[in-house]
Amino acid sequence: MDDIKRKYVIPGDVITTGPYRAEDNVHLFGDKIIATTVGISEIYDSGVRVIPLTGVYVPRIDDFIIGMVKSHTSLSWELDINACYPGILPAQDVFGRDFNPKVDELTSRLKTGDLIAARVANSDRSRDPLITIADRDLGKIDDGELIKISPTKVPRLIGKRGSMIQTIENATKAQITIGQNGYVVVSCEEAEGLLKALDAIKIVEEQAHVPNLTERIQEMLGSSSE
């Protein structure tokens, strides 16, 4: 079961042939399973997938994301969620069920440029993704620095069971919120800690492929704090 075969692939590379299930970022051509993006292919159990190393964010239902308000209509906000589609946040989500577009002014709650922590409520081919903030820990982000990283580097920034992000948080006393869409908000009471955390995130993004990165970040933060 633990026998996962990994390989570097580019579009068009034949990963394997045979009775495997074609999962993410692969396509079936006859009995060949072919990679569709640059990444690392994984063959496990009966499935084959490619973990992409580059590309845009594709919204998926239940993803935790960070969005920036771009504009609004009388019924909803339009968010920049770093995807090829704008996120739609309906006004009912913020004002509650008794929302009345004649009375309630949307800008009184969220203005252009505001950041929100949100979840993808629905995403399909026919409409722009629907965003919600109706849950615990979701809503407007009051303070912090926004930093944009590639969405494909998000898992690396989180690390195995959150190891990387915990390392950075513990060393800098900063609070880091990571959206699946590659938007990261860092807040810290001390300016020095904030700058260090931002540097560390940039390094993780640039060197995502380097082994033992967590230790190196630990070293960097440990040594520079002295």
Partner: protein
């Protein structure tokens, strides 16, 4: 002082061409992926004396909106020659030839790019010819395919392109500028090497059916050679090596 065009020996008795290559030898190829910071994906290619930059944006919102397709994305392509890319200044406005090549490159890439995954969006491919030699459309296609892969746009396969042609009654691979102007036929071919499918064939000149077949096969062999360079470029950028 220059040699009169009719004086050029396109193919000598030993099967050596005017630039010293043999019949089935391509020009020097160098591809580099990810050369531009602001584009989502980019590539630079040197194919003989051709020097070409390709940049890719997207998938992103379509503007103007009426161009958007509700059930799949669209691909837009611009092939543009810099004024300094040829001997005599070229007017930077798009010419008839550039508009045609833009269309041809777009249609050669479309079968490979999985646009159905991104409805209502556009993928923009910009190609700038910095220096032109013969066969710039093939080289531009090669760079565009690498740039698309660099941008992380899902593709069924890479697209590799190479020309073949007829020079001094012989079918030769990858014809250069002199051979293009003085030769008897020029045939650019684009090919998806893993799927074994041709996405572009053009022919300027007259060939017999036997010559045509040989010419297509020669060009496809050239595409397979180019594919190795495309692979190498992407591997170098993403995996830091060119090995398997």
């Amino acid at each position: 002082m220059g040699v009169r065009k009719s004086d050029i020996v396109l193919l000598d008795d030993k099967g050596i061409r005017c630039d010293g290559r043999s019949i089935e030898e391509p020009r020097r190829i160098m591809i580099k992926a990810g050369v531009l910071k602001n584009a989502n994906g980019s590539a630079y290619i040197e194919f003989g004396e051709n020097k070409i930059l390709a940049g890719v944006f997207g998938p992103r919102d379509v503007h103007p909106k009426h161009l958007a397709n509700t059930d799949r994305g669209i691909l837009r392509c611009r092939y543009h020659m810099q004024p300094f890319s040829v001997g005599e200044r070229k007017n930077p406005a798009p010419s008839r030839r550039e508009i045609e090549i833009s269309k041809v490159i777009k249609e050669a890439l479309e079968p490979a790019v999985m646009l159905e995954n991104f409805p209502r969006t556009v993928v923009d491919v910009f190609i700038e010819i910095l220096q032109a030699d013969g066969g710039s459309r093939c080289a531009a296609l090669d760079a565009a395919a690498v740039a698309l892969a660099d941008a992380g746009i899902p593709m069924r396969d890479m697209v590799s392109a190479c020309a073949a042609g007829k020079v001094a009654d012989t079918i030769v691979l990858d014809i250069n500028n002199e051979e293009d102007q003085e030769g008897q036929a020029d045939m650019p071919v684009a090919y998806m090497p893993n799927l074994g499918k041709v996405t572009l064939v053009q022919l300027d000149g007259v060939l017999t059916p036997q010559e045509y077949e040989k010419c297509v096969n020669t060009a496809i062999n050239g595409c397979k050679l180019v594919y190795e360079f495309q692979k190498k470029a992407l591997r170098e950028k993403f995996f830091g090596d060119s090995s398997q």
